[in-house]
């Protein structure tokens, strides 16, 4: 904590000396919105850059308002005598704009180049040096591995202000979501949306059930569990709706009513499945315990 305080103090000192001599309006200021935890977008990139400029934030500028950004905002609000609530409203934004500088083009150029910069503004340091100070958390190690690869420059230039990270529900990776979306799409394309969410929910209910494997992949690839996995339809590219259905199920919607099995009554060949207590029917599928 001592180090952060020191950096903060230096930051403030630097800021005030700049602030006194330089009254030019900032080239870029926030939009009107109140920024809160969980938000994604350009405003968050600006927020993170500005907080980093004055030493409150030393994580990655990725455009996702996560916990690191949240604590940075709270510390900033605390140091500058604002109400400490973690919401970036007009007062906090004004104070930030006064206290820091934001060179949008430069920041976005860095993001495009895939550079990690932990000291935007004040003292610019090569990313690698800052990295070696350690304790920067998992995200940066991943970043470090990525440094070796060539960046797809063209693609990055087309979408210059896009965040480089995304929100994921706790305990799930984007790749788990992809696996589930493939299962949902191959099993229930053409079904009503609620039926698709229900199938994703069945996978999640199995995850909680002690008699099923305890990983998404374990459940999806269990022999004979899903016909679409057995016959290879599983490897089709899922559409946006399937992905959305999976996200809804992960976020807590369960139209299946807690089911761990489902079947299509027209094609089901197993007698046993008919004996399970049925919960409901959505579209072509009957969901049961």
């Amino acid at each position: 904590m001592g180090r952060l305080k020191l950096i903060t103090a230096i930051g403030i000192a630097v800021v005030f000396s700049i602030g006194l001599s330089n009254h030019a309006p900032p080239s870029q200021a926030f939009t009107e919105q109140v920024i809160q935890q969980g938000a994604v977008g350009e405003d968050v990139i600006e927020l993170q850059s500005r907080l980093q400029y004055i030493g409150f934030y030393n994580g990655k500028i990725d455009g996702v308002f996560g916990w690191g950004t949240y604590w940075a905002v709270r510390n900033f609000q605390n140091e500058f005598g604002l109400e400490v609530d973690g919401f970036v409203g007009q007062k906090t934004k004004d104070m930030l704009v006064k206290a820091s500088e934001y060179d949008q083009d430069w920041v976005q150029q860095q993001i495009e180049e895939g550079k990690e910069f932990t000291h935007y503004g004040g003292q610019k340091r090569p990313w690698s040096e800052a990295q070696q100070q350690g304790g920067q958390g998992q995200g940066q190690q991943e970043q470090q591995q990525d440094q070796g690869q060539d960046q797809p420059q063209e693609q990055a230039q087309e979408q210059p202000d896009e965040p480089t990270a995304t929100n994921v529900p706790k305990g799930f990776s984007q790749n788990d979501i992809q696996l589930m979306a493939q299962a949902v799409y191959s099993e229930a394309r053409g079904e009503p949306y609620s039926g698709q969410v229900a199938i994703a929910a069945v996978i999640l209910n199995r995850l909680d059930d002690s008699t099923f494997p305890d990983s998404i992949s374990g459940i999806v690839f269990e022999p004979l569990a899903f016909t679409a996995v057995a016959d290879g339809q599983f490897y089709m590219e899922p559409d946006e709706q399937a992905r959305e259905a999976v996200m809804d199920a992960i976020n807590g919607w369960d139209p299946s009513g807690g089911a761990t099995y489902y079947f299509n009554p027209d094609t089901a060949t197993s007698d046993w499945i008919w004996q399970r207590p049925q919960i409901k029917r959505i579209g072509k599928h009957v969901f049961c315990r």
Binding site: G38, Q138, G139, A165, S210, G218, G252
Partner: protein, 446 residues
């Protein structure tokens, strides 16, 4: 001229034979590979059940708590490996879940006993009884599995045949299936005897019906209710169905379609409580902020009569915002009583609500009197000193054993990583430590 034709035909025939033979070989190779995977899982399973049986009998003979804990942990590990083996066999279509339940019960029991201080709390009479029952049952399963294994090896039985027999629903007299059915009966016998009190975590306990206050609605009234709730036209196509025997809450499922909006809602048959709903339509680019969306969500919930709630989680997923609210009473956050709301960020419309957890948990909990023996200060002292605590509040959570406990929820930072620690407010036990992670790098972009 004719002999040229003959030669062409002969060459064609020979190459067709060669091609067919190669295809056949390849197909065989793949089938053998699949068969080998099944065989490995099955033989592993028999070995592990054998081991499990041995370990349980060792525990029965043991006296010292120092040795007991590691041995029970071992049992826990083996039972979970055995379950993984079952998961790799093509048994999803046959009733083998009692055996899986049996295995998970063994794991559950040994885990719980192993983690508690056996010095102060040695095994009770009842638990010893249970262990000897487990021993007996696992012994039966072991014998049966070894018999099936012998048959498999002796007669060269193939799991691929089991798979085919199960998939076509013609089990006939498949030795493997018959053997596994005997095992299943054995497990069932164990599960159904009076051991239920010991395994409270069993999913069975959750499936009791939940009752609500208020009158029972019929389909017409539901249609009216939905029309009003979603401000629909009188002549929108609406499809209402009831739930079956397996549902824990008797509900009506309502779906409707207005052309560009598709809706799905669940209402309890008694009292017409809105349990959840989802609306689907094309969502445009995000126009409003997550914050505005949160206010919309709050308004909706207040309008539905949920007053004492606080937002605990907000996330933007491209064009929608998802918020999680929990019930707050006397400054205590009740995490099991949660509500999720999804809001479209193009115009702030509510896209979905699920109140199931809130409704189920608040109605089933009943009166609970949480005792409180430690203060906030004392709780902070119980957290790893390297974590810098930033926030604290009181919360009720569901712990590992599925019980609701009152805790101090302490959020802190260690090495730039945010953690949430729950300290039991009664005895200071560290119930849960969670690493909080909210974003993931977009792979394939940078």
């Amino acid at each position: 001229m004719r002999w040229v034709l003959y030669i062409v035909l002969i060459v064609g025939l020979i190459s067709a034979i060669v091609y067919g033979y190669q295809e056949h070989q390849e197909k065989n190779a793949i089938l053998i590979q699949a068969e080998n995977n099944y065989q490995r899982a099955f033989h592993d399973l028999t070995y592990r059940i054998d081991l499990l049986n041995d370990k349980i009998s060792t525990v029965l003979a043991m006296n010292t708590p120092e040795n007991l804990s590691p041995e029970l942990t071992e049992i826990w590990k083996i039972s979970s490996e055995a379950q993984a083996d079952v998961g790799q066999l093509p048994l999803t279509l046959m009733p083998f879940n009692k055996t899986e339940e049996f295995l998970s019960n063994i794991g559950e029991f040994s885990y719980r006993v192993a983690i508690r201080g056996l010095d102060e709390e040695p095994l009770t009479e009842e638990e010893m009884d249970l262990l000897s029952q487990l021993h007996e049952s696992s012994n039966n399963i072991r014998k049966e599995l070894r018999t099936v294994q012998h048959e498999v090896l002796d007669k060269g039985l193939r799991w691929m045949d089991v798979e085919v027999a199960l998939a076509t629903n013609e089990p006939g007299d498949n030795t493997i299936i018959d053997g596994l059915k005997t095992i299943e009966d054995n497990s069932e016998e164990f599960n159904s005897t009076d051991n239920e009190g010991v395994f409270t975590l069993n999913s069975e306990s959750k499936s009791e019906e939940i009752k609500f206050e208020g009158k029972t609605y019929n389909e017409e009234e539901v249609q009216e209710f939905i029309t009003e709730q979603f401000e629909l036209d009188g002549n929108v196509d609406m499809n209402i169905t009831g739930t079956g025997d397996g549902a824990d809450i008797p509900m009506y499922n309502v779906s409707f379609d207005t052309g560009d909006l598709h809706g799905y809602a669940e209402l309890s048959q008694q009292g017409a409580n809105m349990i959840s709903y989802m609306l689907t339509r094309e969502v445009g680019e995000a126009q409003i902020s997550l914050n505005e969306a949160m206010i919309q969500a709050e308004e909706l919930l207040n309008g539905l009569g949920y007053d004492n709630i606080e937002m605990v989680e907000s996330s933007q997923y491209e064009k929608v915002g998802v918020f999680r609210f929990v019930r707050v009473e006397d400054d205590v956050y009740y995490y099991p009583d949660s509500l999720q709301v999804k809001v479209a960020l193009d115009n702030g419309d509510i896209m979905g609500l699920t109140a199931r957890d809130y409704i189920v948990n608040t109605t089933t909990r009943g009166e609970v009197d949480f005792s409180e023996n430690i203060t906030d200060e004392e709780a902070r002292d119980l957290v790893n000193p390297n974590i810098e605590i930033m926030e604290s509040r009181k919360a009720v959570i569901e712990n590992d054993l599925g019980e609701n406990v009152l805790c101090y929820e302490l959020v802190g930072v260690l090495n730039d990583q945010t953690y949430r620690v729950y300290i039991n407010a009664d005895d200071g036990f560290e119930e849960k430590v969670e690493k909080l992670k909210q974003s993931e790098q977009l792979y394939g972009i940078n």
